[in-house]
C-alpha cells in the first residue's frame, strides 16, 4: 500500500476530515438535490436513495478517483484539468472550485504542508474540491483509500442532509439511506482507488468519467433561479 510520505496513518485524522462539521463550507450545497426536489424527481426516502445511488456511481466515483489520485501524488494541475473535462456544467465547475478554495483554507490550518501551499499558489481561485481533498488527506498522513472514502461519502452525505431540510424528511429515514448505500460506497471506493493507481502509470485518462446528465442540466437550471436555499 502506498502511504503518504512522512506522517503515519491516523484514523483520528480521517474522522476530523470526514466530519460534517469540518469548516469547509459543504453544508451550503445540496449536490443537485434542491433542483431534483423542485423538479419533483426526489419526493421521499426511496427516491432520495435512487438519487444518491446515481450520484455515487457517477460524480461520486469520479470524485473518489480524483481524490485518491491526488493522495497518491499525481500532479494536481493534471487532475484539475481532468476534473474540468469531467464537469461540463460551468455552474458545477464554479461550485467545485469554490468548495476547493474553502477546503484548502481549512486544510492549511489543520495540516500545513508545502504541497498545500503550492496548490494555493497555483490555483488562487481554487482547484476542484476532490483534488484539494486528496492533497489534504496526503498532508494529514492519510492514504488514497481514506481520501476516496471521504469524497464518495460526501457525494451522498451532502444531498441527504439537504433533502432532510428541503422535504422535512425524517432524519432517521434519511440516515438509513446512507447506511443502505454503505456497501456500494465501499465498492465504488475500491474501484476508484484501483483506477487512481492505474492513472499513476497511464495518465489521467485511466480515471473514470461517469456522468449524470440530469445532474449537469439540473445544476445549470438551478444556478439561474433567483431565490434558492442552497448554493448548488
Amino acid at each position: 500500500m502506498v502511504r503518504a510520505a512522512g506522517a503515519p496513518m491516523s484514523r483520528a485524522a480521517l474522522l476530523v476530515l470526514a466530519d460534517g462539521r469540518f469548516p469547509a463550507g459543504g453544508h451550503a450545497h445540496s449536490g443537485g438535490a434542491e433542483a431534483a426536489v423542485k423538479a419533483g424527481r426526489v419526493t421521499s426516502a426511496a427516491t432520495l436513495e435512487e438519487f444518491c445511488r446515481g450520484r455515487l456511481h457517477t460524480v461520486g466515483r469520479v470524485a473518489a478517483a480524483l481524490a485518491a489520485a491526488a493522495a497518491l501524488g499525481i500532479d494536481p494541475a493534471e487532475l484539475d484539468a481532468a476534473a474540468d473535462a469531467r464537469t461540463p456544467s460551468p455552474a458545477l465547475r464554479a461550485t467545485a472550485r469554490r468548495l476547493g478554495r474553502q477546503l484548502l483554507r481549512a486544510a492549511r490550518a489543520c495540516w500545513p504542508s508545502p504541497e498545500l501551499d503550492a496548490l494555493a499558489a497555483a490555483f488562487p481561485k481554487g482547484a476542484h474540491q476532490p483534488v484539494v481533498l486528496g492533497l489534504t488527506a496526503r498532508s494529514a498522513g492519510l492514504g488514497p483509500e481514506d481520501a476516496a472514502h471521504c469524497a464518495a461519502y460526501e457525494s451522498v452525505g451532502g444531498p441527504t442532509t439537504a433533502t432532510v431540510r428541503l422535504l422535512s424528511l425524517d432524519p432517521f429515514e434519511a440516515t438509513a439511506v446512507l447506511a443502505r448505500l454503505a456497501p456500494e460506497l465501499d465498492a465504488v471506493v475500491e474501484a476508484a482507488v484501483a483506477a487512481a493507481r492505474r492513472a499513476v502509470l497511464d495518465g489521467t485518462d485511466a480515471l473514470p468519467a461517469a456522468s449524470g446528465p440530469l445532474l449537469e442540466i439540473g445544476a445549470e437550471g438551478h444556478a439561474a433561479w433567483p431565490v434558492r436555499l442552497f448554493a448548488s
Partner: protein, 345 residues
C-alpha cells in the same frame, strides 16, 4: 418497403430491410431511405474520390447469404424484431466469432478550393459513400451494409481531417446494437482527428440499444488548437416500448492535447445502480450531446443557458460548447439538438 418491427422507433430512420442484414455486394442490397446516389451497393470496398478502389478487405468469417445468417435480422421486413435474433440458429453450428470491421476516412484540400478524400475505405458492415457536398466541403455517408453491431462484433471508424479540408460525415440510418449469437459485448470505437485549419462535422444518426444487446462505445477526438468540430451523439434506450440493452459510452475530447471533455454513461441491465434514477436519466429514453469546438470560443465563450427543462447549453473549460440533453424519445431529442445547432450556427 414498410418499416418492419425490427427497427420501429418513433422518429428514427432505421434501415430495416435492404442493406440491413445483407452483406453489401450480395446483389439486390439496397439501403432504404438513403439519399440518391448513396445506396448503390457497390460492395464493401472503399472507393477513393478518384474512382480508384482501395483495398477491399472484406470480412469473410460470416456467410454472405441472409438465409444462412440466422443471427442477423433477416432482410425481409416481415422479420420480427421481438424474436431473439439467434432463435433460428442451427444446432451444432460452430460458435461464430464476431465481425471485425474498420472504416477509414482521410480528408485533405484538393488544391482547387475543395476537399479531396484520398482515403475512403470500409469493410463488412461499414460502408462509407461520398455524396454531393456543399461548397468546399466533402460529404460522406456511412451506409450500414449489415446489421449490427451484434454481441462479439468489433467495429472501428477512423477519420482524419487535414488543415484546410472540410468534411461532413453522416449516416443513412440509425445504428442498432443487437444481441449476438455468441453473446458477449460488442465494441464500437471511433477516432476523430482534426488538424489546424480543418473542419469536421460528425453528425451520425442515433444509436439504439436493443433489448439484450451489450455494446461499449468509445469515441476519442483530438482537435488541434485551430481545428473546428461539430459532433453529435444520440443514444436511444430500446426500441419503442422495449427495455434497453446494456450500453456504455465514453466520449473523450482533447484540444491541443489538453483534456476538454470526458463523459461516460452506462445504462441498462448490469450498469451501475441509479442510472435510471433522478440523478442520471429519470426514465428518459433518449440522451444526447452536441459538441462544438471552435477557436473563436477561446476569446468569446458562449453564455450558458437552458434549452427547455431537459437540455442545457454549456461553455466548457476550453474553446467549446456542449449541449447536453435528455428526452422522452429520439424525436424530441433531435428537435432540441437541432434547435441548439441552429442557435449556434
Amino acid at each position: 418497403m414498410g418499416a418492419g418491427e425490427a427497427g420501429r422507433v418513433a422518429g428514427v430512420r432505421v434501415a430495416t430491410g435492404g442493406a440491413a442484414g445483407v452483406r453489401a455486394g450480395d446483389g439486390g442490397a439496397e439501403a432504404e431511405g438513403t439519399d440518391a446516389g448513396v445506396a448503390q451497393a457497390e460492395g464493401a470496398a472503399g472507393i477513393t474520390d478518384t474512382g480508384t478502389p482501395s483495398v477491399p478487405t472484406t470480412v469473410s468469417d460470416r456467410p454472405a447469404s441472409p438465409a444462412t445468417v440466422p443471427d442477423r435480422p433477416a432482410s425481409s421486413a416481415t422479420a420480427s424484431g421481438r424474436q431473439a435474433p439467434h432463435a433460428t440458429a442451427p444446432t451444432g453450428a460452430p460458435a461464430p466469432t464476431g465481425v471485425r470491421a474498420r472504416a477509414r476516412l482521410h480528408a485533405r484540400p484538393d488544391g482547387r478550393g475543395g476537399t479531396a478524400l484520398p482515403v475512403l475505405e470500409g469493410e463488412g458492415p461499414l460502408a462509407p459513400r461520398r455524396t454531393r457536398g456543399s461548397g468546399d466541403a466533402a460529404r460522406v455517408m456511412l451506409v450500414g451494409a449489415m446489421s449490427g453491431p451484434l454481441g462479439g462484433d468489433r467495429f472501428g471508424v477512423e477519420v482524419h481531417v487535414a488543415g484546410g479540408a472540410r468534411l461532413h460525415v453522416g449516416s443513412v440510418a440509425a445504428t442498432l446494437a443487437l444481441p449476438g449469437q455468441s453473446g458477449g459485448e460488442a465494441h464500437y470505437d471511433v477516432r476523430l482527428d482534426v488538424a489546424d485549419g480543418g473542419e469536421l462535422r460528425w453528425l451520425p444518426e442515433q444509436l439504439i440499444s436493443v433489448c439484450g444487446s451489450d455494446l461499449r462505445v468509445a469515441t476519442r477526438v483530438e482537435v488541434a488548437p485551430g481545428g473546428r468540430l461539430v459532433l453529435r451523439e444520440e443514444q436511444v434506450l430500446g426500441r419503442t416500448g422495449e427495455s434497453p440493452g446494456r450500453l456504455s459510452s465514453r466520449l473523450t475530447v482533447r484540444v491541443g492535447g489538453r483534456p476538454l471533455l470526458d463523459q461516460e454513461l452506462a445504462c441498462g441491465p448490469g450498469a451501475p445502480g441509479g442510472w435510471d434514477g433522478p440523478a442520471v436519466l429519470a426514465g428518459h429514453r433518449a440522451v444526447g450531446q452536441l459538441l462544438l469546438v471552435r477557436p473563436e470560443f477561446a476569446e468569446h465563450p458562449a453564455t450558458a443557458r437552458m434549452l427547455g427543462e431537459c437540455a442545457a447549453l454549456m461553455p466548457l473549460a476550453g474553446p467549446a460548447v456542449l449541449v447536453s440533453a435528455v428526452a422522452t424519445d429520439a424525436l424530441r431529442l433531435r428537435e432540441v439538438l437541432d434547435e441548439a445547432l441552429a442557435l449556434l450556427g
